[in-house]
């Protein structure tokens, strides 16, 4: 049975983007209301699908083309346990960013372009997450990244243009590598459907380019996800964008078009091999360690947060990689499941706390007019809500209970110890301590400094819409830690882990074999 709500997740923001563009020219005030309505509807649909869909996967065939002899033809949209979670964080962080933008974007012009590009980016990300077809992933990926190039440059000053140039050149190289890999896949497998490619590769039709395909795809999506050797664009792009966009880029975009696709392809399309699993784990551990060391010396708040994104994504990649190594060796599958659960859980948590931290940075910039930590001082008195929510997010990212970051890092470290990766476990704990140090610096200089700082003007708390989204995200940071409880974990996180652990389930439900 096809669920008619699934294509709406792509169609609604796409229609919203174009309507905002057209109507916004004639009526002022329409763009923000329409963007808000679009994101509210999306959040409702995605949570509805998460609650009702549960463990079952549902497949939507566009145009109603049924498989012929077990070979899928036509385009497929697939909603399962893993994509449901990513869709929920996309629409939730998107909704809160739009609410925040209502006040924040008031100082910029061209409101209709901003909201239109925002909806287009959401449509692209939803498409990447839902698509069951490798070429369609490429198309939706380009929709979302081209709109994000434009959004990074939204200020059109020197820094924004330089950042978007780096982002675009590296992003374009990554896109062509992905396209090249898609060509090789079609050459070897004669199909583009991920589930069908899996069947063909499983039957030995891997062809001579199998390793090349894997390396090209890992490089391409690694560039989009800013894993450490490919990270150069991220600190510039994420710190130059307007703050709600930084929250979207760091909180959601690098996950939806980078990490999610890597995990999906390497679990559900390729057969897991020990060599590839070790490579992915190494890249993850490298990002985790190098990201945090690059972050600790930063004085610009948004650059500091951007480097922490690299480090936290390293945790996700490393823990999923540990799961892959154990699965490839065929030993201790319950530890592998724990590691993968930890990785997915940390991905959700990172969306919440990194989104909140970027919104806080935006609030500081909005009120104090600076992003340099050395120029701030004693903001805790003048901005109590911003200070409190950023403390919650800082404790969360540093892994202090009872916030969500603690539980996901605990699961990752426990899984690493149980899988006998003692060195990686120690590294994860060490990186967490350095993260704490770096965020103590942030709190100390920005909020709890007794010196008045160099800011001349009077500092006030930010307007209500900005406060509303920050407080909501702080509450989400607390509530997400409930997912670690047994009982809730089984219903929310386990379907996502199962679809990745069960090697043939993903393809068998689509090809119908």
């Amino acid at each position: 049975m096809m669920n008619p709500l699934i294509p709406l997740l792509v169609a609604v923001p796409l229609a919203g983007a174009f309507l905002i563009m057209i109507l916004g020219r004639f009526i002022t005030g329409v763009p923000r209301i329409m963007a808000l309505a679009t994101l509210l509807l999306l959040a409702f649909i995605s949570f509805w699908l998460l609650i009702t869909g549960g463990a079952a996967s549902s497949v939507y065939t566009l145009g109603g083309w049924e498989p012929v002899d077990g070979v899928p033809i036509g385009l497929y949209l697939i909603h399962d346990g893993f994509s449901a979670l990513v869709l929920c964080i996309i629409s939730l962080i998107g909704l809160l960013s739009v609410i925040y933008s209502i006040s924040y974007m008031a100082r910029y012009t061209s409101e209709n372009y901003f909201y239109s590009l925002f909806c287009l980016m959401i449509a692209g990300m939803n498409g990447v997450v839902l698509s069951g077809d490798i070429f369609n992933i490429f198309v939706f990926l380009e929709i979302s990244v081209i709109s994000s190039y434009a959004l990074v440059a939204f200020g059109v000053e020197k820094n924004e243009l330089e950042a978007t140039l780096k982002y675009q050149v590296l992003g374009a190289v990554a896109s062509f590598m992905i396209l090249f890999a898609i060509g090789f896949i079609y050459w070897s497998a004669k199909t583009l459907n991920i589930a069908d490619i899996r069947v063909v590769f499983g039957e030995g039709g891997q062809g001579p380019h199998y390793i090349l395909i894997q390396i090209l795809l890992l490089t391409g999506f690694g560039l989009k996800a800013a894993i450490i050797p490919f990270h150069a664009w991220l600190p510039d792009a994420h710190s130059s964008a307007p703050s709600p966009i930084s929250a979207m880029l760091s909180g959601v975009l690098i996950k939806a078009v980078g990490i999610y696709v890597i995990i999906r392809l390497f679990f559900n399309m390729f057969e897991i091999t020990v060599g590839m699993a070790i490579l992915i784990t190494t890249l993850g551990a490298l990002s985790m360690a190098a990201g945090v060391f690059l972050a600790i010396g930063q004085w610009d708040i948004k650059r500091l947060l951007a480097y922490h994104s690299i480090s936290q994504m390293g945790y996700v990649i490393m823990s999923v990689g540990i799961g892959m190594i154990l699965m490839a060796r065929g030993i201790r599958s319950e530890v592998a499941a724990l590691a993968i659960t930890g990785g997915i859980f940390h991905m959700l948590n990172h969306a919440a706390f990194k989104g909140l931290l970027f919104l806080n940075a935006g609030a500081i910039e909005y009120s104090a007019g600076t992003r340099d930590l050395r120029e701030m001082g004693g903001l805790a008195r003048s901005m109590p809500f911003t200070s409190a929510t950023s403390l919650a997010a800082s404790l969360s990212i540093s892994g202090i209970p009872p916030f969500n970051g603690f539980f996901s890092k605990l699961i990752i470290i426990v899984a690493a110890v149980m899988g006998r990766f003692y060195l990686l476990a120690a590294l994860a704990a060490l990186v967490s301590i350095i993260t704490l140090a770096s965020f103590m610096k942030f709190q100390r200089y920005a909020f709890y400094n007794t010196e008045p700082g160099k800011i001349q003007k009077e500092i006030r708390e930010v307007p209500l819409p900005m406060l509303l989204s920050m407080v909501t995200l702080a509450l989400i940071c607390l509530l997400l830690s409930l997912l670690a409880l047994p009982g809730i974990r089984e219903t929310v996180l386990s379907p996502a882990t199962d679809i990745l652990m069960d090697q043939m389930k993903y393809s068998s439900q689509i090809t119908g074999m």
């Binding site: 050149v169 062509f176 583009l192 610009d300």
Partner: protein
């Protein structure tokens, strides 16, 4: 087989240009070279020796046809490539207005 190697060399030429050139316009051209090597590769995959356009002729149903799917992919990819190139050129023009140069070594506000 030679054409595939030539196609791959074209891809690497574009990549070399992106890495070594200092002029923004030349970087954009190198990216286009990479892009078109991908398109060429996709078109080559669909090619069949002696094939004709895949319009089924009832009088002679056993003709060899070229694979139409990579052609459809190339069309889609060309449209995407157009958007990428247009966006990149727009940014390069803006950069020229702000910095007054196309030299990438002069554009280094962001550090650290």
């Amino acid at each position: 087989m030679t054409v595939y190697w030539l196609c791959f060399i074209l891809f690497l030429t574009g990549l070399y240009g992106v890495i070594t050139r200092r002029n923004l316009i030349k970087i954009a051209i190198s990216l286009s070279v990479m892009e078109f090597s991908c398109f060429l590769f996709l078109a080559l995959i669909g090619y069949r020796e002696g094939g004709v356009a895949p319009i089924v002729d009832m009088a002679d149903p056993v003709k060899t046809y070229v694979d139409p799917l990579p052609q459809a992919m190339v069309l889609t990819a060309i449209v995407i490539g157009l958007a990428t190139t247009a966006m990149l050129m727009a940014v390069i023009i803006r950069i020229y207005r702000k910095y007054g140069t196309f030299d990438i070594r002069e554009i280094k506000n962001l550090r650290g």
